[in-house]
């Protein structure tokens, strides 16, 4: 008999009458890492929330070490020795690393209410060392990079000495090196007898890390067992429910000679130097580079979010001096930002409010300037349908309740309402599943076929190679080289991005998403 740390028995849960989970049963063995995979909206988050006491199941029971477990709040879960590392970070930016880690368990000086800072910092330093993290415990979290913050979040979960650890997409902003680091730590914890559930879209990581896997689709368990029985292709088939033969759509070149966007010698001290690019109608231009190579910063300048010191941006041949996003939008530009949660969406607002956000002035009556909500709704509905947006109610459902892939579709839909002639997409497929990714690619293809120019920023070379007409490679705020489609090669692109300085086995500091 295997030693079962945690078991789900016939768990069911409905939202708005729709099954989010249907008779879900599986077990987590003690001292094992269990991978939980499924598309966005397959029910992984619901399952986690039930385990963490945020939601209660309608039917079914949870067993913790063989005994019934009924958590009513996150605190209950914590007391039972279950810790979560959520995808979104729960750190307090105004506190130090050490304070964040011990926020609920400050060590006090004997018989006083005063925090013993020395003990706190010592414990923290030890913890950070075990993660190979070179961060001072006294550092304020607001001064950390996204990757460092994610590692601190993980350290926080490890500090509690919990028996069962649950990781939800913990690697989204980690470099390859940090990811490797995390994995060896997880293996180490497993060998020390902890039980771990690991949720990820990156099937290659799952393959590499876990012992067992469970695959969910539409709230049901589609299969599960030792990872050896589930090669990546089988996992994908079970997740998506159909045979997926290609991860990318067939590339059709739609590029014309009409220049839609041009930047001339854009420079900003310390950020970018002398950047000149052109995007043609119907063309998909990729921008590749390591994290912090200046791609996103440049995109923000193009759109007018940040200022630049020198140079000029021309849209359809027309210069936009010192422009603000307002002028960019008026001239047919759209910017799908990197962080959809923070920059792309009003999470607490209904879908329709989000879709209508940019184009609201177009839906106002002529004189009274009142919003014609019927017309807006009709158009939003059209766009929603064309994007295959899965939702229950455009007007009532908050964006927060949508899955990641569908959230991204709302962001894209918001801009499609403006019929943009140029789209900047910054990491549009980050953190969304295979199926949703494919749909995002199709949307890009469709827009290009309709004559829009697309600037596609990504850290995934494969998707750039599959989708782009040209790829511009960045390094340290400069354009290193431009590749046309015939020259595309993963190796040479990477080599350029690293300035050819590294050996083959050096740390490749690039986020590795979706190698599936």
């Amino acid at each position: 008999m295997a030693d079962i740390a945690f078991a789900f028995k016939h768990i069911s849960k409905r939202f708005f009458g729709v099954h989010a989970l249907k008779q879900v049963s599986f077990e987590l063995e003690r001292g094992k890492i269990l991978g939980l995979v499924g598309e966005n909206g397959a029910g992984k988050s619901t399952l986690m929330n039930i385990m963490g006491g945020v939601l209660q199941p309608e039917v079914g029971t949870l067993l913790l070490r063989g005994e019934t477990y009924r958590p009513l709040s996150p605190l209950d879960a914590s007391c039972a020795g279950i810790e979560f590392v959520h995808q979104e970070l729960n750190l307090f930016t105004n506190l130090t690393v050490a304070e964040n880690i011990s926020i609920n368990s400050f060590p006090c000086m004997r018989r006083t209410p005063f925090i013993n800072k020395r003990t706190m910092h010592q414990a923290c330093r030890k913890l950070l060392e075990s993660l190979n993290l070179d961060i001072a415990p006294t550092m304020l979290v607001e001064n950390l990079s996204p990757g460092e913050r994610q590692l601190v979040e993980i350290a926080k979960a490890l500090s509690t000495d919990a028996d069962i650890l649950l990781f939800d997409e913990p690697t989204t902003s980690l470099t390859a090196k940090d990811t490797e680091n995390l994995f060896s730590l997880l293996r180490h914890l497993r060998d020390a007898g902890k039980s771990i559930i690991y949720i990820s879209h990156i099937l290659a990581d799952v393959q590499k890390l876990v012992d067992d896997v469970v695959i969910l689709r539409d709230g049901e368990v589609m299969g599960g067992g030792p990872i050896g029985d589930f090669p990546i292709k089988r996992m994908i088939n079970l997740m998506v429910g159909r045979e997926i033969n290609h991860l990318f759509p067939e590339k059709t070149p739609y590029a014309t000679d009409t220049v839609i966007l041009e930047s001339q010698n854009i420079s900003e001290p310390g950020i970018v130097r002398d950047i000149s690019i052109k995007v043609h109608a119907g063309e998909i231009v990729g921008m590749f580079g390591l994290m912090g190579s200046g791609r996103t910063e440049f995109a923000r300048m193009l759109f007018g979010v940040d200022s630049y010191h020198e140079g000029e941006v021309l849209v359809q041949g027309k210069p936009l001096p010192r422009h603000k996003p307002e002028q960019s939008i008026r001239n047919g530009m759209a910017f799908i930002t990197e962080n959809r949660r923070e920059e792309g969406l009003l999470m607490d607002y209904p879908i329709i409010e989000n879709i209508g956000l940019v184009s609201l002035p177009d839906y106002c009556a002529k004189v009274s300037r009142l919003v014609d909500s019927k017309r807006l709704f009709r158009r939003a509905n059209e766009v929603g349908t064309s994007l295959k947006l899965k939702c229950n109610n455009l007007k009532l459902q908050k964006v927060k309740s949508l899955s990641g892939g569908n959230q991204q579709k709302v962001v894209i839909g918001k801009w499609l309402l403006k019929d943009p002639s140029l789209l900047i997409l910054d990491e549009p497929t980050r953190g969304i599943d295979v199926g949703a990714k494919y749909e995002v690619y199709l949307i890009m293809e469709r827009l290009a076929s309709e004559g829009s120019g697309i600037l596609f920023i990504s850290s995934e070379v494969e998707e750039l190679i599959a989708m782009c007409d040209r790829i511009i490679v960045w390094s340290q705020g400069e354009i290193m080289r431009e590749f046309v489609r015939d020259e595309f090669s993963q190796e040479s692109i990477m080599r350029i991005a690293f300035r050819q300085e590294l050996d083959d086995d050096a740390d490749i500091e690039v986020a590795t998403y979706g190698n599936e």
């Binding site: 996150p74 307090f92 930016t93 910063e297």
Partner: protein, 326 residues
Amino acid sequence: METNKIMKFTLKNSTAVLFVLLFIMFGLIAPRFFTLKNFQNILSNSSYIGIIAVGMTFVLLTGGIDLSVGATMYLSAVVCGKLINDLGFSVTSAVLISLLVGLAVGSVNAFAITKLRLVPFITTLITQTIARGMGLFITRSIAVNYPDSVTLLSTSKLFGFIPLQIFIFLFVVFIAALVLNRTRYGRQLYAVGNDLESAMKAGIKCERLIASTYIISGFLAALGGFVTITQIGRVNANFGTGDEFDAIAAAVLGGASLFGGIGTVFPGTILGTVMIEMIQAGLVFANIDLYIQPIIMALIIFSAVFIDSMRTMQIKKLERRNILKA
């Protein structure tokens, strides 16, 4: 690089720099400004606003606001006077009861905000009106005079040289700074103000923490009221009116954010309080027209807050990561 560092330091400590500048300026205009007597007056005059501003800082840290402190001050002072004058209570017990009045008003705020989930702004506006109304009802808007036994307290000196009000002020600051910086309660308060949802997920008892700040604020308002009556010996119907705004101004001047999570009692709020008082005294010393003084006062506060909002942007720019290779 060195100038960069100096820039950063100046920006990060803009209130302190402004404080020193104003201080020197007033001293140059009126040499009498630089006297020990004057410093003591400034500190003594700022003590009651300072005490209230400490409570306000706690509330602001959670992202709330307490508009009822001025009225609380009035009500508790009135209760104290009536107990002594009409009901023959001893000064000690009357003062203790008046402090309880502050706790009571704070508790009502706390209850309405955390249990009934009303917005702090409206809640404390209502309790402000009620507290003042109760005070007016008790006094029939007639001024309350305090016996010598109360006013003499202001002349008492601890250790022979620290006036009572300054001692209370410094004591409150000391305890508050200790609580905010060195206790679990204090650090969690910052966490709640930074991100309420994350704080709840982290298992912090947010409601209890938020409630406590209004109770502290109410208590300190009553204490501020007591300190004032020892100094002036008389409370009329508009006692404490508008003091809540001085307290908020002091906290914000000291770097507290109205959105929560940012601010310190020491040095922040204290610097803000003393600065307001110093400007007031300085304007008198500089012989500025009495009717222009409030305008200048407001302009100085405006520029301080303006500099503060500018500097946040500047600091970001200075600390931005450099992507380009040298």
